[in-house]
Structure formats: structure tokens, C-alpha cells
Symmetry: C2
Subunit: 343 residues, 2 copies
DNA sequence: ACTGGCACTCAAAATGTCCGAGTGCCAGCG
DNA sequence: CGCTGGCACTCGGACATTTTGAGTGCCAGT
């Protein structure tokens, strides 16, 4: 049965009231607070239909109704519109981010900001390497057989790695290597580099090849592997606020899931993959991570200009203020994007 | 009144049982489980004395006894001896740490290891800068008016900072600056550098002074300020295990405290200051952080050889297995120290 | 100095009672 | 035909009451 206008209105009212009060909402309370111009009895009939269709349910007979995941989904997709941020919130964002000194600091401030504004757990992926370009490569001799490789990307990120050389090496040779490597790689997207590194090894003067080999393998490691997989987290204390009712007793497993960086990446990271940066909402069971089936996730991609270098988002109970949260996540993601672009 | 041998034995038994069962322990249960060769009535008398002296207390009349902070303190100081680690635990440490690729990875693995072994919340300070020495400074031109300063320390840590120059600058000048800065600072302890930076500004050729000034201030910032203040955290999920009984409802504030990096530093960081690296135990109210009055902290310094570059530790309910926890923290701190020394 | 016995206390669990919000259904109304 | 008011019914939560048992303190006896 298609839901008519009023039934949708009833669903919206239920979601809003339940989010606000945290208590199952009954027909009387509903007509009192929202001015649907009908009687409780009518609402009850509508509720019965909504329940049949799986949008709401009763915790027990003779209790009020509570939205199901499906109900929230409908609400998010069709019944809500994103609240514009208040002026106070806009100011808070600027104040909070003002004076960030380096990339780590930006990330750190952002998660805390998000956690504070949404009063939920905030997660943010460090800018992914693969989407950024090489700005400079530095080779620093540590001893005659060791060199520290330092890479700086255009997102301002710095990676370092130790390289063990096969034998004692002249400072001049190191300088030459530095020149070669920079000439070849600076300005390139990281994702393009593996092929280039290979050609470096092939083209290099035979005298240097022995040294180039280990350097190349470390380079590859630095450029592609691992480590783009870092995630910052804040606001776990907010989990206890939502507390015992949501997450019924599974608070522990939620915390555990949040500590698994890999899990978080899956959650937040895949935002960027489709090149779509607008907030995305996953509600309860829609979530692939079993431990987070009692939570909803609102995540968005961020990055300078048109590129997306990572994701950020918020994890909270399914009973959350979706319009507000979505708006906040979007605003913060945009702001950080601008910040990165200025660099 | 001085406590005789048996009363101490009773206290030890109470602590051990309470830690094991999480329930107030009564006189009968005590004589049954430990073979003190006396009757419950006798134990009751001893308990009365222990209570008078403030080592134990009753949650309510007609309940068993529970150790107080003071009781735990006595237990830790005089009644317990550190359990040697089991072979399995030793293996776990090695297996877990094997293959760590860089400093960040070592820290990350260490906290997770600690959290897992102790089944509590683990905290670890990133190796502090002040105790380490400058290995190399690099200046990378980003544009004509911007330079990226990269510092590498002998603990393998890398710090970077952007420097805004007052005007367009020649590459040659940058090279010259790099030479000057390195000549002056490489090999010096970070704590010694502020004076040297000042002399750099004074001694530099007047042509370069204009450029040196902003560089110097950023240098100072990088060398001393902030940022040595980073902390890694793991195992917050373990808080829920101890759960509702300990931390009575203050779980939230504990989580909040744990998110405050500054607080954690105070907790863990001061270990190194006295140059003493053995585990230190702070029990309940002994703790200076108000939000952590319901917890105990076991912390130790770590570092290569004789120097201490940071602290690590464990936060848990006062009702914790002190001998085991102390042993684990000590062993892990030592292991990490050795690891750093090998570098 | 220790023990067994006894009266007493009190929190927690079990049981019972009541209340009201909420429901489903139905007959009547516009 | 859709909405409404009315009514009987359900059931969880709040509250009061009782029961139970672990634990205590104290004292007289060995």
C-alpha cells in the first residue's frame, strides 16, 4: 500500500519526537505536539499501517512506537531537509580551526570539532597518499651505509623511511640520486609513481644501480603501501551519553570496532572512492560492520578543490538528529577542503 | 597499633579475593579459600582492626569488606611481589612487535600490546623530543617565499613546519642557510638548542638576517614547543569490562579524561623526569587528575640505553591485578627500550 | 588468644499490587 | 468512505512488602 501524505507526516513526527525524547511515542502525545488535525484514533490506524510496512515497531505490546532502520531511512531520504548551520556553529568552526599549524594538527582539531558539534563520536581519515602528488623527496645520509628518505606531498604530509645501502656510499652519489629521483617523481600523482620508479632503476647509470635498487624498493613501499591507513578519533565519551538504551549493552563491541583502524577506514574511507563527496548515511543494519549494527554513520569525503583525499564522519546511535548531523558533517568537510586548498 | 603478621596476611587475602571475584569478601569465604588456620571469628576481629586503620571498609553494614586505596597501597608496597611473566606472554611481546616498520608503528603496536596483555587501557607517550638530539635539518623550497623545514632526530622522529619568508629568496641562499643551520645544530641535544638558535641569528651575515629571523622563530617552535606532547591510546573497550561496578557511573568522565592528551601526559609523562624508569603505581585518590580518582595508573619510563625518552602505562580500576600489571608494564617498557637502542 | 554461638542488620531478590499509557476494534457520524 | 469517540484489554514500570542469606559484633567458654 502506498503511504499517503498524512502517514508520512505521522512517520516524520514519530522520528522527530523519538529522537528528541528517547522514548517510544504514542498516538496521544503525537497529536498534541504536532498539529496534525486528526484524532489519536486516526493516528493509531496510520501507525498500524506503518508498522505493517516495517517503518516502525513496538518495543512491547501497549508501548508507543519506535522507528525501525527502514523508518529512519525513509525519513532521511524523503522527509527531512538539511538544517542550515546556525551562525554560532559557523563561528565555532572557524574559531576552532584557526591557527592550526600543520597537517596533523588540522586533523586533530577537525575530529574534536566534529565530536563537539555533533556530540557524537567523530572519525577522520588522514589525507590519503594515493590521491596526492609528490612535492619533494629528500635523502639524508645517516651513516655511510644508511640514508633516510623523506617524502613531502602536496597535501603537506611527510613520510620518512630508512634505507639500508649495500655498501659505503659517497656523499656525491647520494646527491646525484636525490637529483635523479626528484627530477623523475616531483609533481607526479602518487598513484602514477610505481611505473616511474621502475624506469628509474632501468635508466640509472650502472655505477649507481646497486644503490638505486634498495632505494627503489623503499620508495615503492613509501609511495604506495600501508600507512595511508591512519585514522583519528575523538568523542568516545559521547557514547556513554547516548548510553544504555541505544547500543543495548553492546557498547563494548562498539568501542572495540572503533579501535580497529581497518574497520574505520572501511566505514569512512570508501566515501572517496566514488568521487562523490556529499554526506552519505548508513543506518543501523545497513552497516557492513557487524559490531556497528546498532549505530548509524554519517560520512563525507573531503579534499582540496575537486579531488578527494580522505573521508570524515560521525558514528552515533540510530536514534540521532540526522538533519543536523548531516549538515554539520558537510560543513566541516567543506571547510577543511578549503583549508587544504589554501595550502 | 602495628599490624601483626596475620593481619597482613588477612589483608593480602582480601585484596587477592576481591580482585579475583569483584565482590566484597566476608570472613567465612576467606578462611575457606586461603588456609589461614584460624576461625572466621578470629578473622573478623582482625578485620575490625584493619578497618579501624583504614585499610579496608564495608560498602554497607552486613556486607563483606573491600580494600581502600590505602589498603591497596600497603598491598603493593609490602605484600605483593611482581609475578614473572609467563613464557606465553614473553612470546606474545616478541611476536607482536616483530616487523614494526617505523617509529609510529612501534608506538601503535606497543599500546595495543599493552592493552591486550593487561586487558586494560594502555597509554604511551611518543618519544619526547627534548631528550633526543638533532640528526639533520632540511630546508625544502616550496615556492619563492616559502620553505618547508624538516627536522630529523636520532630517535628517528621527523617534524616538519612551514616557514613564510619575508620576500622572494634565491635557491643559493636557502642552500647557505641549510649549511649554516646544520653546522650549528646537528648533534646537539634539543634542550640545548634555543641558545644556539639565538647565536645563529646574531652571527649570520647581514644579507641573510632578514631570512634567518622567521626561520629561527619556526626553528624554536619546532625544537621546543608543543608536539612532543603526543600520546597514543588503546583498549578503551576494556573499560566496559570492568564496567558499572568500578567507576560507578563515572565511566563517562574517565573516557573524557583519557581523551585529554594533556591529562595523559601528566599521568604518564612525568615518569621520565626523575630519571627513574621502574614502574610507578598511583592508586585511586593518589591521582592528581580528579576524573581519574576511581582508577589506578601503572606507568614506567622507556628509552634506549640509559636515557628515558617517554612514558607508557596502563589505566584501570583500583581493583586491578597489581603484580601482574606491574610485571607486564615493566617487561614491555624494557622491550621497547631495547628496540629503540638497536636503531 | 582463639573459638563457637547467637542475635542482629541490611542489601538484594522475590513477590505482589496498582496504575496508566497505549492499543485494537467497533459503531456511529458527516 | 474516512474519521472519530468510546471502550475493553494489555502489559511494563513503579512502588510496597516480604523473604532470604551473607555477614557482622559481641560474649562466654575453652
Amino acid at each position: 500500500m502506498p503511504l499517503d501524505e498524512r502517514k508520512l507526516e505521522v512517520l516524520r513526527a514519530i522520528v522527530e519526537d523519538y529522537v528528541a525524547t528517547e522514548e517510544p511515542v504514542g498516538s496521544r502525545a503525537l497529536v498534541e505536539r504536532h498539529n496534525l488535525n486528526v484524532s489519536p484514533a486516526t493516528v493509531r490506524n496510520d501507525m498500524a499501517v506503518l508498522e505493517e510496512e516495517g517503518y516502525i515497531r513496538q518495543p512491547h505490546t501497549s508501548a508507543g512506537r519506535v522507528p525501525t532502520d527502514r523508518g529512519y531511512r525513509l525519513f532521511v531520504d524523503r522527509l527531512s531537509q538539511i538544517k542550515p548551520l546556525s551562525a554560532a556553529e559557523r563561528r565555532a568552526i572557524e574559531r576552532f580551526m584557526f591557527g592550526a599549524v600543520d597537517l596533523d594538527d588540522v586533523v586533530y582539531r577537525t575530529v574534536r570539532l566534529l565530536a563537539q558539534l555533533t556530540r557524537q563520536v567523530a572519525v577522520m581519515q588522514y589525507p590519503s597518499l594515493t590521491k596526492s602528488a609528490v612535492r619533494h623527496l629528500e635523502l639524508v645520509p645517516i651513516s655511510t651505509t644508511r640514508v633516510m628518505l623523506v617524502m613531502i606531498t602536496d597535501t603537506g604530509r611527510v613520510e620518512q623511511r630508512l634505507v639500508e645501502l649495500p655498501g659505503p656510499t659517497e656523499a656525491d652519489d647520494v646527491t646525484e640520486l636525490r637529483r635523479l629521483v626528484n627530477a623523475k617523481l616531483v609533481g607526479e600523482q602518487l598513484s602514477e609513481t610505481p611505473a616511474l620508479v621502475q624506469s628509474l632503476v632501468d635508466e640509472v647509470h650502472p655505477d649507481l644501480r646497486q644503490i638505486m635498487a634498495p632505494l627503489a624498493s623503499v620508495l615503492l613501499e613509501t609511495l604506495v603501501e600501508r600507512h595511508e591507513e591512519r585514522v583519528a578519533l575523538a568523542g568516545t565519551a559521547n557514547l556513554t551519553r547516548a548510553g544504555l538504551f541505544d547500543f543495548q549493552g553492546s557498547l563494548r563491541s562498539v568501542l572495540e570496532a572503533l579501535e580497529e583502524q581497518v574497520v574505520l577506514l572501511k566505514l569512512i574511507g570508501e566515501v572517496g572512492n566514488d568521487g562523490y563527496r556529499e554526506p552519505r548515511v548508513r543506518i543501523g543494519g545497513e552497516n557492513e560492520v557487524a559490531d556497528l549494527r546498532t549505530t548509524s554513520v554519517v560520512s563525507a569525503g573531503y579534499g582540496p578543490g575537486d579531488t578527494i583525499v580522505g573521508g570524515m564522519g560521525v558514528v552515533g546511535p540510530t536514534r540521532m538528529d540526522y538533519p543536523g548531523t548531516i549538515a554539520t558533517v558537510r560543513a566541516v568537510a567543506r571547510y577543511v577542503g578549503e583549508l587544504l586548498a589554501q595550502n
